[in-house]
């Protein structure tokens, strides 16, 4: 629509142009100055005139109108129908439609559009125009990023008196829950008010534990049953073992009898692979490894005394601090001892003497963690004293690889379940180390200070992505590791295999060399012995020397005593003689 404005003007008023012409100047007004006016004014001298050499700026406020946004949904109801058609009425709509279909324009348009559309449809069916070529190549190398770990959640011991988080166990399905065992392992440090409770946490909720477990004595270790996620067993500080069913509440369902339990805290319990899924075994520093069945907790099904001399002598027994069991090798298991040796045992042996197969020594202190590599079961990791060592089953003399000696004691360690050459260790200064043997062997790839107090335990989730570590004050930290450290790299398995084999071979060669050298020496010393038979007398053992020294000592003592007796006798007889003389003299008088 055009906007039109109509106005009228007289004909005489338009059409005539203006004529401009020049005219000389005219003086209209001339005002002369009047000096008498000056009396009304005083001259101001001096004048203060401030100036500022700066940019002149002015302040101005502007406030724009607030832009209000609102999210609204649209409910599409049929619309657009012309006024005379009622959309609810089927008849009218059908009639309208039929009318449109008869329209010639409609027919032409549809025919034309139809052909255009057909073209495109056929295009679609011919080729997938959005097909991805080179799809696999697009997977970017995430390994370029720095390895890192992020703390996700921290679970603190809710009690006032903080206890150490000594045992950790992930829930077997989905790992949404974490069971933490709290106890105080320092000798006689447990006060009367210290609570015995251990908790099950939901990892999303760090404020309050999901469930409390109330044993009669603090739990040192705790394990979920991998087959039945409601059952947990815990080893207590007093040597007993208790088992819980989370459906039945906080009290243990059953406890092992005191007479048949361990005499020292139970440091580790592991579930066994069995048809019933109810077998497990436990180890403690009293030198026993006991096998139990959950259904009959009154006494263990089997016992083993860790006597390295294989005589079953309890006095000689080594105290067990860690256990290792791999479900792929159900007849073998390994025990890490307080004395620094790893004892490899065979469960199926007939006599107790044969049960202990061999020992690996090389550590200076108790072995806190012992685990086989999930990809290479022949190699296992031990964490003890200030180092972590990797061993091969075949080589008993020494470990094949070891870390340097750290400043702080190492307390726990485990392999990564997804990468064969990655393992984690925790230290007493609160640091978590991640070692990637294929990247760097001298130093940890990633070293994180998790907390100020010492870390005591470590557990990785099965996907290798999350790990929890427990500290001395009961603080359990949940960390997420960067994807570079938990995704299998391309050649990793092959490289790791090659590395372990290489180290094993090296140790074997060294062992062989040592043996050779020893043999040579022995044969040389045997030859030497035949020539030196005379000199055998001079070689006395230390015991003979001691006996000789004792004999000499007593001889000297006796000699002195006799001398003194003789002198006494002499003086005594002298006195008698004088007495006699004096008596004679008296008699004479």
């Amino acid at each position: 629509m055009e906007i039109v404005y109509v106005y009228t003007k007289k004909r005489s008023e338009f059409g005539r142009q203006c004529n401009f012409s020049d005219r000389p100047a005219e003086l209209h007004v001339d005002i002369l100055p009047d000096p008498s006016q000056m009396d009304n004014y005083i001259e101001r001298n001096p004048c203060d005139n401030p100036t500022q050499c700066a940019q002149e700026m002015s302040e101005h406020e502007v406030n724009t109108e607030r832009f209000q946004t609102e999210t609204r949904g649209i409910n599409h109801v049929e619309g657009g129908w012309p006024k005379d058609v009622n959309p609810q009425e089927m008849e009218q709509t059908i009639r309208y439609r039929k009318k449109v279909e008869k329209d010639e324009n409609y027919v032409n348009t549809v025919l034309q559009l139809g052909s255009l559309m057909e073209h495109c449809i056929k295009q679609n069916t011919a080729i997938d125009i959005y097909q991805q070529y080179f799809e696999e190549e697009e997977v970017s190398e995430g390994a370029e990023e720095q390895p890192s770990a992020k703390t996700i959640n921290v679970f603190r011991d809710p009690n006032e008196i903080k206890r150490t988080a000594t045992g950790l166990s992930w829930h077997p399905d989905g790992a949404k829950k974490l069971a933490v065992a709290y106890s105080s392992l320092e000798f006689q440090r447990a006060t009367k008010d210290m609570s015995f409770d251990s908790y099950i946490w939901d990892i999303e909720n760090p404020d309050k534990p999901e469930m409390t477990l109330k044993p009669v004595s603090p739990l040192v270790c705790l394990e979920y049953n991998p087959k039945d996620s409601h059952i947990l067993i815990g080893g207590c500080y007093n040597g007993q073992i208790a088992y819980w069913d989370t459906r039945k509440g906080s009290q243990p369902v059953e406890m092992s009898t005191i007479e048949h339990s361990h005499r020292d805290p139970v440091y580790k319990v592991i579930w066994l692979q069995s048809k019933t899924g109810t077998d497990y075994f436990s180890a403690s520093t009293d030198g026993h490894v006991l096998w139990w069945d959950i259904r009959k907790m009154s006494e263990p099904t089997e016992k083993l005394i860790l006597d390295p001399s294989k005589k079953g002598n309890l006095d000689n027994a080594l105290g067990a601090i860690s256990l290792e069991f791999e479900t792929t090798m159900p007849t073998k298991f390994m025990v890490g001892t307080e004395q620094g040796q790893v004892v490899s045992c065979n469960r199926k042996a007939k006599t107790p003497a044969e049960k202990i197969v061999c020992t690996y020594s090389g550590h200076h202190g108790p072995i806190y963690a012992l685990q086989r590599n999930p990809f290479f079961p022949k190699n296992f990791l031990t964490v003890a004293d200030w180092t972590a060592r990797i061993w091969s089953e075949e080589i008993k003399e020494s470990s094949i690889m070891w870390t340097k000696y750290h400043m702080a004691y190492l307390t726990d360690g485990c392999w990564s379940p997804v990468r064969p050459a990655v393992f984690f260790t925790t230290r007493m200064d609160g640091t978590l180390d991640v070692w990637d043997l294929l990247f760097k062997q001298n130093d940890p790839t990633l070293s994180l200070k998790v907390c100020d107090e010492s870390l005591y335990s470590l557990r990785l989730q099965d996907n290798g992505r999350f790990l929890v570590c427990g500290s001395q004050l009961g603080t359990t930290t949940l960390l997420e590791i960067s994807p570079g450290l938990c995704t299998l790299q391309r050649n990793e398995k092959a490289l790791a295999t090659a590395m372990f084999e290489r180290e094993t071979k090296r140790e074997k060669i060294l062992e062989a060399r040592h043996r050779e050298m020893r043999l040579k020496e022995r044969s040389r010393s045997e030859q030497g012995k035949e020539e030196e038979t005379k000199d055998v007398d001079t070689e006395e053992s230390s015991e003979d020397l001691v006996a000789r020294a004792e004999k000499e000592f007593f001889e000297v003592v006796e000699f002195e005593l006799k001398k003194r007796e003789r002198e006494e006798e002499k003086s005594q007889s002298k006195a008698d003689k004088e007495k006699e003389i004096s008596e004679e003299k008296e008699a004479e008088d």
Binding site: V110, L113, G114, L116, M117, C120, I121, N124, D128
Partner: protein
């Protein structure tokens, strides 16, 4: 009339075609092979989309105009052939 039917039938018989809707300039579905509620939803939403697309194209270059609109989603592809007064909408499941 018969040609219209024939055209639409031909389109319908193509591989992967799930439905056809013919919508007029006001957004009223004239012809459809889908059920009523789906048709109404498609008609209203696509109508607005086409108007927006057309205005976008013409804003960039007034000489230009929208000839075809293809919307590919995870499950299917919606193709719209616009005209001055009517649109032809076809929903197809592309080959893959």
């Amino acid at each position: 009339m018969a040609e219209v039917e024939e055209t639409l039938k031909r389109i319908q018989s193509q591989k992967g075609v799930q439905g056809i809707i013919v919508v007029n300039a006001e957004g009223i579905p004239i012809k459809t092979t889908l059920d009523n509620s789906t048709t109404v939803q498609y008609a209203a939403l696509i109508h607005q989309l086409v108007l927006k697309a057309r205005s976008t194209v013409r804003d960039m270059d007034p000489q230009n105009d929208l000839t075809f609109l293809r919307l590919r989603s995870k499950k299917n592809e919606i193709m719209v052939a616009p005209d001055k007064e009517y649109f032809l909408i076809v929903i197809q499941n592309p080959t893959d």
